[in-house]
Subunit: 391 residues, 2 copies
Amino acid sequence: MAGEPLAAIVSAGLSKFGKLEGLLSREIFLQAFREAIDRCPNLDPRRDIDSIYIGQMSESFEHQSHTGPLIADYTGLLGKPASRIENACASSGVSLRIGVQAVKSGMSDVVLVGGVEKMTHLGIADVTEYLAMPSDYPLEQLNGLTFPGLFALMARAHMHKYGTTEEQMSLVAVKNHRNGAKNPKAHMQREITLEQALSSRVVASPLKLFDCSLVSDGASCLIITRPEMARKFTDTPVFIVGSAQASDTLGLYERDDLTTSYATREAAERAYKMARIEPKEIDVAEVHDCFTIAELIAYETLGLCKPGESGKFIEDGNTEIGGSVPVNTSGGLKSKGHPVGATGTAQAYEIYLQLIGAAEKRQVGSADIGLTHNLGGSASTAVVHIYRRGG
Amino acid sequence: MAGEPLAAIVSAGLSKFGKLEGLLSREIFLQAFREAIDRCPNLDPRRDIDSIYIGQMSESFEHQSHTGPLIADYTGLLGKPASRIENACASSGVSLRIGVQAVKSGMSDVVLVGGVEKMTHLGIADVTEYLAMPSDYPLEQLNGLTFPGLFALMARAHMHKYGTTEEQMSLVAVKNHRNGAKNPKAHMQREITLEQALSSRVVASPLKLFDCSLVSDGASCLIITRPEMARKFTDTPVFIVGSAQASDTLGLYERDDLTTSYATREAAERAYKMARIEPKEIDVAEVHDCFTIAELIAYETLGLCKPGESGKFIEDGNTEIGGSVPVNTSGGLKSKGHPVGATGTAQAYEIYLQLIGAAEKRQVGSADIGLTHNLGGSASTAVVHIYRRGG
């Protein structure tokens, strides 16, 4: 049985992910917020919500920072304390964790946590430059090393040490596109074949186009409260029973081993301990597949399989819907899309749907325990949350 | 008597403020961190500190975001959860509040909170553009309205409604430079005359050069813990007894009244209530004087004087060292400097020194209760903290 709940999710919302032309991030966030409000008729947002934490990675995309009060105003929550959290692509994973602390501290009763990013209106050169900012400027960015290159180094190291193959990485893309094809909010709702993935153009060898996640617009949010208050708002709460975060060096040049994620291992260990569960008890997980190699490494660092065995683990179908531990049923960053600041709470949204049995065509069957794994930068931040279905 | 402590400050550090050539923000932060560590020999940072919250306003200044893990690595705290908070110039005021929640939630025992910004290596056009990002992009920035213009609108409204004069605003600058001249870490350690302030060149009428705070590099930090753990680390803890934050519209165009700060009034009211103290009990305060008009409005919205009477309040010498409530003994943003992300915890550093009696030439005498007031953007975020000297 999982540990004592830290907080309860009583509602959640997600915007459409994709190219949302003509909308500002404040407007995209409203799509997610309205869904969360509509799902939770017992909640009066203005009366009940008493603080707001919003993940947004980059001020550069829209020349706009100070997202906290901006979102407070546009959601009708003017006056409430509202803050922006930035931990690269883990921004809203961290927002969730800070929201859990706010609730647990007794300084807030009901917290809106979420994330948003608007990226598709810019050219790829600008997007790539802005996306590179969370990596080490003087020693990586300045020398032209951007994230596809950084993750390609990890992929090469993993191939060299464990014999992991390009086919095995491509299987991640194929699986996640298969799942995303069932998700009406996903950016790319279409299946791909292994051949398509393997023959797509090289971005940073060994990573090809279909090893890379998408540049998307989107927003996500959750309404969380103290566990004992959850039934006031919903009959189907989902409890957060583990919440942990760890850091690693910004630069890859400082690391001993590129085949693993120290931050993920550390955060996962703490989260499992807090939740009092073992990796084998996870029924469904959303992991950070910014590149396909990242999903394989996540299997290992989250303890779903042993180090070096992730290639075999996906080949055997373990992480398919219907497998022993379905991973990225939403389509993941690869097919659902990756509006960077929104990704952490979008992962939590999917787990929330799975645990309340509302994931429709991609429902894994009855699931009691879920996990999310959100990375920032070159895994310089890792945030792991563990969820339990309300009894 | 003030309310129950939420958290305790057991140490604090501040870098030199000013033009710190050749240093990256990660290196500047180390100056502040080392002071905090040196002040607190009973603290073993690697063993004791279990999370990190860093305020930094802009990724654009150094083309570098993801400041949380970067600071964790450079302070020798690699692996610890470390996050960046962005609420414009209130970024580290919010970091402090999030740190208080982390401690109070029981999810952390000892937290490093702080802020940093490196700005002076850029030209003024770039700095002005990047500083404008927390204002409303489509409706303010895009039309050329930057912060001097926004605060000039507030100044004009205050002059029109209450008869506030340019001389009264200049008195803020004169007082803060007088205080800053006694602060060896201040950016501009020199006194100015009322005539100099009044005759300085116009930036955005009625605001002149000496009504504006400085573009500075700098960093600040605090070590906070649970109140009951404080004596393990120090004999002179300072307790945080009030911590509140509120938001206002990003754009001024949405506000009913430009002569006040709704967010400050709201945050102050909550903080006073939490601390169970009255404004008249404040012995020393650091308020957000990004422009001189902002300090005058702060006197009113923090309840130090009545609405419209701030001009008279400073003329009567109330906020001088030796007055009824000394304000900005550090020199404030005006003379100490304003490395934007560092300002919130730099204000707390000054109050910490005053309450432990370590403010040297600018010491106000024995002070029991202190207050900090940190604004983000056009007062779209306000954070108020109230402090009590350990008994």
